[in-house]
């Protein structure tokens, strides 16, 4: 009976060492804190109706940002722990972590950063920006969109669940290679958490990708042919096409590994005729394209940023699109470069090495289009552009080190050394993360209705770039010296320690940068009066997302624009063409179906982790019932009448103070500095202590 309802869960599965107790307590404390605030401000209803059940891609995008930002901090704490370990665990000292715990941390770190930070931010940006860029009011399937988001959240919860139940995460590395991840070598629940966290969020990604493909191909504003589509939209389209092409592979691979572990099948086991090498192939057939699924939207962001801040159309739009297409196609056919050393013949290695080298050609084409765009442009060095310049520098280092690794003979030396780790961090941080930061600072005024504080943004940028170089240049050197990745202990005679110390210091500088970014957002909220953007177009933008108000109304556009050229909005501004014919708008209704299904999907995964078959069956039945009900409901939209649209618009325009209707020049008032911010916070705190009215707020 106990087995039936609880499976393998026992009191022993509850937290009992300090890390798990601490983690669990932190989660409970955060939850209680949020709950208290929501109850005291009577905001539960608001949270549920306005946010959690919303199908508005803009709100879903913001929720993606929040979860991903939170996970960035969570993954960042992992890094500091790992680097501290590497600084301390020399000779006799064992450092602060046990070897097993260290392995779990780097695994969790990799999974969190790729699946829940990078993917989260990228999906958030695509959600928010793509419908605006193509002049659409919504996505093709608002339901799939909330479902995809909540499945992503389900994955986030699943990966953190081990703190509360079980106390161990996979100790296998982020791709959990077989047979190490099989039941014989990893008997605990860690790998099961890994499987279900990735499975749930991966299915969400596939659904999201299908939805964006439908949206981009079928819902563009009249006149916007494919050849007039903004480059970020193009990049998103390629990225989503790749996702659709490879995420099913991940789903299938995880499914097979689950069969091995749960039912004792022999797909990837060392015994029973299984083939562990097949796992390596399958996981990298997904894994390599995955890094480009993240990279392409970042390329798209940079194309928009470079063009806007150089005040020029992109140099050779066609070359840019073809470059992205080339990268996407080639990225599907290079997976073997991740395991040159695993026994393929030299012909096979040579082939995959060559294809990998060829990828740098379309990538270089993209770079040349950006550089040519800047050439003779009137460049403005606002933070989005700074992130771009940082990207160019670091991504070049990362790309070149990738080329080095693409030569099989060199790779035999460098494979699984810290050189490799430095390579992909140059690309993932310098490329994807900087792209995300550039995109967020570029579109922030659109999202929030006010600009970000420039000054603190610059400080944050410099911390990131200096911290990055301090952390990763020593890492390249260490790799060449022979330090392997995933090293939890070494001898001082290797001479590694000074480098690890510099790396840790670099990590601290990056942490300061991250803190400054949070400060930047808070400072901008405090200063929002002065940073307000009432034009909807703070950067003199070229594409349609700037044609609507900031933040955009929930129906995005009062009138769907007709697109004539690539820089649709720029032309509208030049020609002064703005229709003001209000019309009825169909708006999808909010729905909680996404949340319910994600909760049930989470329970299915949780049931499988702990062998609670009753929970699995009940949850599956629940999913079927909800699907059956929702799929056949014929009432998912309502009409917003033209008069109401007109009223809403009038209300919005009335809110804009008359003198602010003109564009404010960027320099008419100083931005708050970090020091101002600290002073502000201190005064604020003192006011609270002295129980005065919060006058400054």
């Amino acid at each position: 009976m106990r087995e039936f309802w609880l499976g393998r869960l026992t009191s022993h599965s509850l937290p009992h060492d300090w890390v798990m107790v601490g983690g669990t307590a932190t989660f409970i404390a955060m939850f209680l804190f949020a709950a208290v605030i929501l109850t005291r401000t009577k905001r539960w209803k608001w949270l549920w109706n306005d946010w959690l059940t919303s199908v508005d891609p803009k709100k879903i995008g913001i929720m993606y940002f929040l979860v991903a930002g939170f996970m960035l901090i969570r993954g960042g704490i992992d890094v500091i722990l790992m680097w501290l370990q590497q600084v301390l665990a020399v000779d006799g000292s064992q450092g602060i972590l046990s070897a097993d715990h260290y392995q779990q941390i780097f695994t969790a770190h990799g999974n969190i950063m790729v699946f829940f930070v990078a993917m989260g931010f990228i999906f958030g940006l695509i959600n928010y920006i793509v419908p605006l860029q193509i002049g659409a009011r919504d996505l093709a399937s608002p339901l799939l969109n909330t479902l995809g988001f909540w499945l992503y959240v389900g994955g986030v919860v699943m990966i953190n669940m081990f703190f509360v139940f079980g106390g161990e995460y996979a100790a296998t590395g982020w791709l959990a290679v077989a047979p190490l991840s099989g039941i014989d070598f990893s008997p605990g629940v860690g790998v099961d958490y890994w499987i279900w966290s990735l499975q749930i969020s991966g299915i969400g990604t596939t659904l999201g990708a299908i939805n964006f493909i439908m949206t981009i191909l079928k819902m563009r504003a009249p006149g916007m042919t494919l050849g007039k589509m903004p480059l970020f939209t193009w990049a998103s389209l390629f990225s989503m096409l790749m996702a659709v092409a490879v995420f099913p592979l991940l789903t299938a691979t995880l499914f097979l590994q689950f069969f091995d572990r749960y039912f004792g099948a022999h797909f990837f086991t060392a015994l029973g005729g299984g083939d562990p090498m097949m796992y390596t192939n399958l996981i990298w057939m997904w894994g390599h394209p995955e890094v480009y699924i993240l990279m392409l939207p970042a390329f798209g962001i940079f194309s928009e940023v470079v063009s806007t801040f150089s005040r020029k159309p992109i140099a050779s739009y066609t070359a840019n699109v073809l470059g992205m297409a080339g990268v996407s196609v080639l990225a599907l056919s290079v997976w073997l470069h991740h395991f040159f050393t695993m026994g393929a013949s030299s012909d096979v290695n040579a082939f995959f090495g060559l294809v990998t080298l060829v990828i740098s050609i379309p990538t270089a084409v993209l770079f040349f289009t950006w550089i040519a765009t800047m050439h003779k442009g009137l460049i403005r060095f606002d933070t989005p552009m700074l992130w771009f310049l940082g990207f160019v520098t670091i991504f070049t280092i990362g790309g070149v080190s990738g080329l080095v690794l693409a030569f099989p003979p060199a790779d035999f030396q460098l494979h699984n050394s810290l050189f490799l780790v430095a390579h992909f961090h140059s690309n993932v941080i310098g490329g994807v993360l900087f792209g995300i930061f550039s995109g967020i600072s570029y579109w922030f005024p659109k999202i929030a209705g006010f600009r970000l504080n420039e000054r603190i943004g610059r400080n944050a940028f410099w911390c990131w770039i200096i911290g990055f170089c301090m952390s990763f240049i020593p890492m390249y050197i260490l790799g060449i010296m022979g330090a392997t990745r995933r090293l939890d202990h070494y001898e001082s005679s290797t001479g590694y320690q000074p480098f690890f110390i510099i790396m840790l210091l670099g990590g601290i500088v990056i942490a300061v940068g991250l803190t400054l970014q949070i400060v930047q957002i808070l400072a901008s909220i405090i200063q929002r009066g002065h940073l307000r953007d009432n034009t909807g177009d703070p950067w003199n933008g070229r594409t349609l997302e700037w044609a609507t108000a900031s933040p955009p109304p929930f129906y995005n556009f009062t009138v769907i624009p007709h697109v004539m050229t690539r820089d649709a909005f720029l032309d509208m501004k030049r020609l002064g063409q703005f229709d003001q014919q209000y019309e009825d708008i169909l708006i999808p209704k909010n729905t909680a179906v996404g949340i319910y299904i994600a909760i049930l999907a989470f329970l299915v995964g949780f049931g499988f982790v702990w062998h609670i078959n009753s929970l699995v069956v009940i949850s599956l039945i629940g999913i079927i019932i909800i699907f059956a009900k929702r799929a056949f409901s014929e009432d998912s939209e309502y009409t917003l009448r033209a008069e109401e649209v007109e009223k809403l618009e009038a209300k919005r325009i009335a809110k804009v103070p008359a003198h602010e209707k003109e564009v404010k020049s960027l320099a008419d008032e100083e931005d708050m500095s970090v020091w101002d911010f600290v002073r502000y916070v201190i005064t604020f705190a003192m006011d609270i202590i002295r129980n005065k009215k919060w006058k400054t707020w």
């Binding site: 299908i210 592979l249 069969f259 022999h266 029973g272 005729g273 056949f632 014929e634």
Partner: protein, 194 residues
């Protein structure tokens, strides 16, 4: 005024397109399973090979059942497009029965294997066989469930345009499963005897 008809037509077009994309992702899942079967089907570790286990007549029966069900499914969709309620229900009812029969034959095969001790734990060949054919069976099960629910709604609400659209998607799914089965029949069952 919103032009509801145009709006609906555009939405239908999108859903149909999205469903095709979904089917392609499903096809990719199956292609992984096929590839895995191709790699592992010889790894019997001394156990019986496909030739010793599979019964071709059974597989042929299953194939005929599924092909016929695809045919009746097509007829059902034609009837639905001209809003003939009972004809639609009868055609899909037959499809449902044929599908259920198919599924029961497959279950029979599986249970016999398991009773003889040929389980998926035994070796890699059987693992890949059970999972490939079983995944197809799971799809058939969900197709049947979908069909049953749709028919229940037709009985309740009568045959309206949204339900016809649902039927169009369902029959696309059904034909897709038919095609996958043809590959299973050829590669797994016929392949074992080649």
């Amino acid at each position: 005024m919103v032009n509801h008809k145009a709006h609906q037509a555009a939405a239908d077009d999108r859903v149909m397109f999205g469903f095709w994309v979904y089917l392609m992702t499903d096809l990719l899942v199956f292609s992984v399973l096929f590839a895995v079967y191709a790699v592992l089907h010889g790894n019997t570790v001394g156990g019986d090979a496909g030739r010793d286990l599979f019964s071709l007549p059974l597989a042929l029966q299953e194939t005929i059942l599924l092909l016929t069900s695809s045919f009746t499914c097509g007829l059902g969709l034609l009837a639905a497009r001209s809003y003939k309620k009972w004809q639609t229900l009868i055609c899909f009812g037959i499809t449902f029965l044929l599908g259920a029969l198919f599924l029961s034959l497959e279950m029979k095969e599986f249970t016999e294997f398991i009773r003889e001790g040929q389980t998926l734990q035994l070796n890699a060949f059987l693992s890949s066989f059970f999972v490939l054919v079983g995944t197809h069976g799971l799809h058939i099960t969900s197709g049947l469930l979908w069909m049953a629910i749709t028919m229940a709604y037709i009985l309740k609400r009568g045959l309206n345009a949204p339900l016809v659209r649902k039927l169009a998607l369902l029959s696309l799914f059904w034909h897709f499963l038919d095609i996958v089965w043809i590959f299973i029949f050829t590669i797994v069952y016929l392949g074992a005897y080649s």
